[in-house]
Every structure is written in C-alpha cells, then in structure tokens.
C-alpha cells in the first residue's frame, strides 16, 4: 500500500482522531535544506513531509523562459534528501510549485531530476504529478464569460494577452491535491500551486478543521521563518481538533506567540485573511499561546467557504532581448551633471544607431548611489561615487548589444559642460563591461479566474518509478 493510502486507512479506522504531525522541510526547495534540523524532524516521526518550491516574487523571467531559479545541483541535493527520507519512513512527500514557477518546463525539469535520483538510489515509488498550466482556450472562454478579474489594479485581460503569453499557470488548491491523495500515491509533485495546499489537504481529508489546517499550512510552508530568529530549518506542526503546536527543528529557533503571529504579515497585504481557491481562513479570533520557550499553540482560525472555486492565474510575456552595461564614476562634476549627460548621450546614440534603422529599442538607466533603488529623499546627499546600469531592451540580442556598446563608447568620451577629466568618464571593473542577459519578460497575467471548465484543469497523472 502507498504512503497516502496507509494514512487514510489508518484514520478511517480510528474512533477518535490522533494528532497529525506535519514536517515543513523547506520553503524554497533548491536553496538548501539544513540537514541537522531535517533529521531532527524525521526523528519525530512526521506523517507527511512538505516542501514549497516556487513563488511569483522572483519575477517574470522564470515563468516566461521556462528556467528554474535554483541551480540544478542544489535542487537535486534537496530533492534527494527529502525523497530518500520519505521513502525510508514510508510517508507521503508533497512538493508544490515545482521548478520555481510551476509551469510545464519547470515541472518537467524537476521530474527529470526526481527520476534520476530514483534510478541512482534504487528508489521505487508511486508518483503523482499534476501540471499547473492553464490551457489558453479555457482562459479565453472565461474572458468571454466575464469570469476574469485583474488583481490589485491589473488591467483587464484581453484575448491577445493570453495568446501572446509564453506560459500561463494557475494556483491549484486543496481540491486538486485531494484527487492525488485518493489515488494511492507516495510522492506528489505539482506545477503551480497554493503553498498552503501542500500541508492543508491531508488534514482536511482526515477531518481536521479547515481553518486550522490552512492557518498551519500558511505558516509552515516557510519552514522556520516564523521563529525568532527566523530561518530555513525544518519545522514541525502537530495538529489536533482544537489547535496546532509549532516547533522548529533547529534548537536555536523559538516559535513564540509574537513571532508566529507576525508571520501573518509576511508577503500578505492583510494579516487577518488567507485566501484560497475554495474559501478563506479568517484569523481575527486566532489565539497564540506560549507552551514553553520554543513552542507556541495556535487556535481560533475560522473557515469561510467561497460560493465557487476561483483560480489565481499568472502569465509572463516576452518583451524583447536585454543587454546591459555596468560602469562607475567618481568624478564630482560628472556625478553632479549625470542626468543631463545621460540624456545627451542617449540622443547621440539614437542618431547613430537609428541612421538606417527604426528606433526599435528602449533604454533605461539606474544610477546607484542616487536613485537606482528608490526615489531620493529631499535630504539625500551627493555620493562620491556612483554605479550605473544602462539597460537596453530591443527586438534582437544583436540590436540590444549594438545600442549598449554605442552607449558605452559615447558615454565614456562625452565632452560634457565643465569637464576637467578628458581621459574617460567611466570606470569599468572588468571588460567586456556590457553583457547580453537574455530575454526580458513581463507579467501580463495576474488575475482571478472563474471557469465552467474547472474539471479540465489540474489533471492527475501517475508514474510508477
């Protein structure tokens, strides 16, 4: 019998539910799972190991390009660690948002690593796989049925936006994970998914309160980040019918009522609500009680079921090819006049590169030391050095490279008003100072979708390894 089958059968035979232990092994699988805390977690005999692997925070490049944000070798190390442990203890392993962005190429790269690990280690298990991609015709149907709404002021989605996107994924929730758990599997790897569903699906299936299960899941999907001090180490949640207890598996990390409650602030615009496809957990009545120095008991989350399931969809579209120039300056006259100089040189460059070609590129610069990160405050001081990134996005790599190389040469030797330093205006830390950095993408889809074709999404596939 499989790992999920066994625990479902065990609970079906219990007169009263026993507490359930869930191990949050990693909030960012592929960036390293500290071994001592993970091992300590395994010694507590958890009922499930869960790892989140993705996020939208990393920007549109990964979803658009199909590349993972994590390095293949460190991803493999982490996957090997959790796979071997889950098979050794014969407990379910659940990994959500595979390969950073959770699209088809990300899922496929993750599965290729998993198959490799299984082969190398002689591991045999039943693998459930759910892709997170949303077919474009389903989104277009939803747009026509007025079922797509922008999140946080995102413009209305058009059919052209959908057709132009490189990849569009949707965050699957507990109902999608549930079909996999019912299919008698050992390991579940999904495309883009709600980070909560990784941990909340099993307890909800076993009859634990949904509000508590979702609240627990939202905290432990980030491993020990809810602790003081926060960190990547594994965390154990023990759930019963009234509450759950959190304990970091790293001895120096304490889960305190304040630190755990504060986790609801992280990357959320409302700390009192956790919104899921199936409804929302409301935390206004949540209670955080200290058990001892390292453990906190949490209760009180309420669940409000949504009238219908909605899916958050994310899509990324190619904008062009990107090349950048990295350079510095330490001349006070140049620094004082840099805005005007950059504008003037841009015109010189445009006249040169557009002599026999259209102005088909955009040029941006960020002046670090002045306003490379934020707009300067009124009391900002003039820096003694600045760093500049000059960025060009153009239809082709060759064009983007041509523009930044021309920009480099003319910015280097531009004879600006009041110049004393005639040797060159820029410092390069290395050459070449200009780099082609690949395709540029932007988020074109960040919407909530209601669809009549929900049953066609998030189909489960089974693979015997």
């Amino acid at each position: 019998m499989s790992a999920t089958g066994r625990i479902l059968k065990e609970f079906a035979g219990l007169k009263t539910r026993r507490p359930l232990k869930l191990l949050g092994a990693s909030g960012q699988l592929g960036y390293g799972i500290p071994t001592p805390a993970f091992q300590a977690g395994l010694e507590r005999k958890p009922d499930l190991i869960g790892c989140d692997m993705g996020s939208i925070d990393i920007g549109p490049y990964y979803l658009g390009s199909g590349n993972m944000a994590t390095a293949r070798e460190s991803t493999k190390r982490d996957l090997r660690k959790v796979l071997i442990a889950a098979r050794l203890h014969d407990i379910p392993l659940v990994i959500g948002s595979a390969g950073s962005a959770g699209g088809a190429p990300h899922l496929e790269q993750t599965l290729a690593i998993v198959r490799e690990i299984a082969k190398e280690g002689g591991l045999h298990f039943r693998l459930g796989v759910i892709a997170g991609d949303i077919p474009k015709d389903i989104i277009i149907d939803a747009i026509r049925a007025q079922g797509v709404v922008g999140i946080d002021g995102m413009p209305a989605l058009t059919e052209d936006d959908v057709l132009g996107a490189a990849h569009i994924v949707g965050q699957m929730g507990m109902s999608s994970f549930e079909q996999a758990f019912k299919a008698d599997i050992d390991v579940l790897i999904t495309g883009r998914a709600c980070d909560t569903a990784i941990f909340s699906t099993l307890p909800v299936m076993l009859g634990f309160p949904i509000g508590l299960s979702v609240h627990l899941a939202k905290i432990i999907e980030c491993a020990s980040l809810c602790c003081l001090p926060g960190g990547r180490d594994s965390i154990l949640a023990t759930l019963d019918d009234e509450s759950f207890v959190l304990e970091s598996m790293a001895p120096q990390r304490r889960a305190t009522p304040t630190s755990v409650a504060a986790h609801s602030l992280y990357e959320q615009n409302d700390p009192y609500v956790i919104i899921e496809p199936e409804g929302r957990a409301v935390l206004n009545e949540a209670k955080y009680e200290q058990i001892d120095e390292r453990r906190t008991r949490i209760s009180g989350a309420q669940w409000l079921e949504a009238p219908q399931i909605t899916i958050k969809i994310e899509g990324s579209t190619r904008v062009g090819e990107r090349a950048i120039l990295l350079c510095g300056a330490a001349d006070p006259i140049f620094i004082k006049n840099h805005e005007e100089i950059l504008r003037d040189v841009t015109k010189v460059v445009r006249d040169l590169v557009c002599e026999d070609a259209p102005e088909d590129y955009t040029l941006f610069w960020r002046v670090f030391g002045v306003n490379g990160v934020t707009d300067p405050l009124p009391d900002a001081v003039t820096p003694s050095e600045i760093c500049m990134t000059i960025e060009c996005i153009a239809p082709t790599t060759a064009r983007a490279s041509e523009v930044v190389r021309t920009m480099k040469q003319y910015l280097l030797h531009f004879g600006y008003e009041g110049r004393l330093s005639t040797g060159g205006n820029l410092a390069f830390a290395f050459t070449p100072p200009e780099i082609s950095v690949g395709t540029a993408y932007k988020f074109s889809v960040y919407h909530i979708m209601t669809t009549a074709r929900l049953s066609e999404l998030f189909q489960l596939k089974i693979e015997e390894l």
């Binding site: 946080d152 609801s264 990160v373 934020t374």
Partner: protein
C-alpha cells in the same frame, strides 16, 4: 524621536507583483500604543512619502504582533522594464526618519 529609534522591525516586501507592503513592528505594547496613539503613521503621511494618492494607501493595525501593516500599489509591476526593485525589499528606508511625537 524617529521611528527607527523605537521600532524593532521596519521592512518592505511585495505582496504579489502589484503591491508593496511595509511592516513596522515594536518590542513592547507601550511602544506600539505610543505610535498608534500619536496617529503619525496615517494615509496622508504614507501618500506623501511614497508620492501617491492617499486613498490608495491601506493601513492595518495588528496588535497581536505589535505591528502596523501598510499596503500601497506598486507604480511599476514587479519585473516590468524599468522596475528598480523586483522583490520590493528596499522600499522601507524612508520610514526610518518619520518623527514620532
């Protein structure tokens, strides 16, 4: 006294690619209540600091963590051409010198 002298945490981070959130946390109920009661952290102040209309600023009091949560729209969607801070993690510093009366 400045906010940086009394707060335990002043940070920023995306909540999705269209929203920046700012968290201010305090060590004690006393410090938290002092700042809440001063009413210094309000929509008008945040709107001025971040150059946006006040009605786009949302402020939530979160006493169980002695924290204030501020959510503001991003002017540029995270990662769009021209963005300067994809994660939104360096937009907090202008809160340091807010004067608490």
């Amino acid at each position: 006294m400045y906010l940086q002298d009394i707060a335990r945490v002043i940070r920023s981070k995306n909540a999705g690619p269209r929203c920046t959130t700012l968290d201010i946390m305090f060590n004690s109920d006393e410090d938290y209540n002092r700042v809440i009661q001063s009413k210094v952290i309000n929509q008008a102040l945040i709107a001025k600091l971040y150059d946006m209309p006040a009605d786009q600023v949302n402020i939530i009091e979160y006493p169980m963590s002695r924290a204030l949560k501020i959510a503001i729209p991003r002017k540029i969607t995270a990662g769009d051409p021209g963005d300067r801070d994809v994660y939104g993690a360096q937009q907090h510093a202008r809160l340091f010198k807010v004067e608490i009366v």
